[in-house]
């Protein structure tokens, strides 16, 4: 009976320290159980914002292998935990419902996208790379040795990691592709 009555805020109003029912007496069960989702995250990972080049530190909170929060990393001496609207929207960027997560394929003269298996796509791309490389190959240009292909070009965004850029340039150079460019030019 006592417990049951205690659960009724009016009773708490009459018996407690909050007669007007605007504070303690009005607290609900859910309120008493309030917990921040940063507190319940399985882990926190330190990352860096992918938008502009200030390089703000981010803390990525993960729960059940899902990103549940991304916020500024106060440890960063550069950003001191702050983020701009884009950085603050990073979780939405990562968890966006419109992200495309499967391979899409458009055949020549096709009018619609088709689904394609990732492995098949990789095989097809590898075939096409070798073919374009061969078709665009130049041993010499205007009498000078160039050992290159003009059949393949590439344009990377400046949100590529250094490691990715490195592998790209290394692979392209080895295959002889030279028209390798980046947002850094823009």
């Amino acid at each position: 009976m006592k417990t049951w009555l205690d659960a009724w805020p009016v009773y708490r109003q009459f018996t407690g320290s909050d007669p007007l029912g605007r504070g303690k007496a009005a607290r609900s069960k859910a309120t008493e159980a309030t917990v921040s989702r940063t507190a319940t995250a399985d882990r926190v990972v330190q990352s860096v914002c992918p938008y502009c080049a200030v390089g703000c530190g981010q803390k990525v909170f993960v729960k059940d292998e899902k990103v549940v929060q991304i916020e500024g990393d106060p440890d960063s001496p550069i950003s001191r935990g702050r983020l701009c609207p884009k950085g603050s929207a990073s979780k939405q960027l990562v968890t966006s419902s419109t992200r495309v997560t499967t391979v899409k394929y458009r055949r020549p003269y096709g009018t619609e996208w088709e689904d394609l298996d990732l492995d098949t796509a990789m095989e097809m791309i590898a075939d096409r790379v070798l073919d374009a490389r061969r078709k665009g190959w130049q041993d010499e240009f205007e009498g000078k040795r160039v050992n290159r292909t003009m059949g393949i070009a590439s344009l990377g965004g400046a949100t590529l990691d250094n490691e990715e850029n490195y592998l790209m340039k290394k692979l392209y150079s080895a295959m002889g592709a030279i028209q390798i460019e980046n947002q850094a030019r823009i």
Binding site: Q13, S17, S28, A30, T31, V35, A39, L83, S88, Q92
Partner: protein, 353 residues
């Protein structure tokens, strides 16, 4: 044990403890947190350093998983507002932070130089350009702007051109977490409650969407989400506070325009900031919501503004409606008594049959 009636200034008209109105040194204790409780926390929003980036808006939405908004509670309707860079419009159920943008000019008293342009001549369908009056323009430019005038210039104000000065005010508005909160007074379910931190929060498991808090807020903060029925507003990230974290907006704010902390400390900081600005000649600077003697007993979230409050869409002299509650109940009781009186005399004054 206190009885309701003896503790009900609203009904008795007796409010010695300032429970309805006036300064209140310890809002949490008044709300029943009589034992040890955290200090009252708040926001100090210093608009003189706001860069209008809206990080606060986004960080708030991300943390609180608010829906996209057109500021009227309906979703998926977006369009350019034309109100400078403000496309949020106002605080609402889905926008708990709102950055206001106000473009202002101060005309330097000069004849406006005429305007001409290259290339307009062969476009007869266009209005013919006036020929520029070189002399008056040059004279105007020369006479108005000199280094002295510039150094006297309001340091908060950037300068553009000779004939007018421009400034662009930006301010991130938020729930004020009033000492005397109209919404909290109005809520009939106890969904709105004051937390141990002195903030005012809606308990979403309780709210039944009566909507009474909406017109009770003198700042027009809280609003109903139409498709949900319940009301929503800034919680000052109550859940984060319980985890010892700062609210999301203050965490994100790049220039510390939004500062979070213990209210008394923020107030000191704000006073110092105001003094600095005033010593620099920023005459238009003033604090808003800092005064505990104002109509809501002071705000938990207060501001340093550079113009009158209404310029930012804030009421210049808000008063919590409950200030007059005793008078209202008195009038209602008198009215009720009057009905009984009229009815009794009507019955007594009528002949039977």
């Amino acid at each position: 044990m206190t009885s309701i009636s003896s503790a009900s200034p609203a009904l008795t008209g007796n409010d010695p403890k300032n429970r309805l109105f006036g300064p209140l040194p310890d809002v949490s204790a008044e709300a029943g947190y009589v034992e040890e409780h955290p200090k009252r926390v708040g926001f100090f929003t210093d608009t003189s350093v706001c860069i209008g980036c809206k990080a606060c808006e986004v960080a708030c939405k991300e943390w609180n998983t608010l829906p996209m908004d057109d500021s009227h509670g309906t979703r998926d309707v977006i369009g350019l507002s034309g109100m400078s860079y403000d496309n949020t419009g106002q605080l609402g159920a889905n926008s708990w932070r709102h950055v206001a943008f106000i473009e202002q000019t101060r005309v330097v008293d000069l004849p406006m130089p005429a305007v001409g342009l290259p290339g307009a001549l062969n476009r007869p369908e266009m209005p013919a350009p006036d020929s520029g009056d070189l002399d008056s323009t040059a004279k105007a430019q020369a006479s108005v702007l000199n280094a002295e005038a510039l150094s006297e210039f309001d340091p908060q104000t950037a300068q553009t051109g000779a004939d007018k000065q421009i400034r662009w005010l930006m301010s991130s508005d938020v729930c004020k977490h009033c000492t005397h909160a109209g919404c909290l007074d109005a809520c009939p379910t106890g969904a709105l409650f004051r937390t141990e931190f002195g903030t005012v929060v809606v308990q979403q498991d309780i709210c039944n969407g009566c909507g009474y808090c909406v017109p009770s807020c003198p700042y027009g903060v809280i609003d109903q989400r139409k498709d949900d029925g319940r009301v929503f507003k800034c919680t000052m990230c109550y859940d984060r506070l319980t985890d010892g974290l700062m609210p999301a907006c203050a965490t994100a704010c790049p220039t510390q325009s939004i500062q979070f902390g213990d209210l008394d400390e923020l107030q000191e900081r704000a006073d110092a900031r105001l003094a600095t600005l005033q010593s620099q000649g920023v005459e238009t600077a003033r604090l808003y919501g800092r005064d505990e003697n104002d109509g809501v007993g002071g705000n938990g979230a207060f501001f340093l503004l550079l113009d009158e409050p209404e310029v930012y869409g804030l009421p210049p002299d808000p008063i919590v409606p409950a200030r007059d509650l005793p008078a209202m109940w008195k009038a209602a009781a008198t009215g009720a008594a009057m009905i009984v009186g009229v009815a009794v005399s009507a019955v007594l004054g009528s002949r039977r049959r």
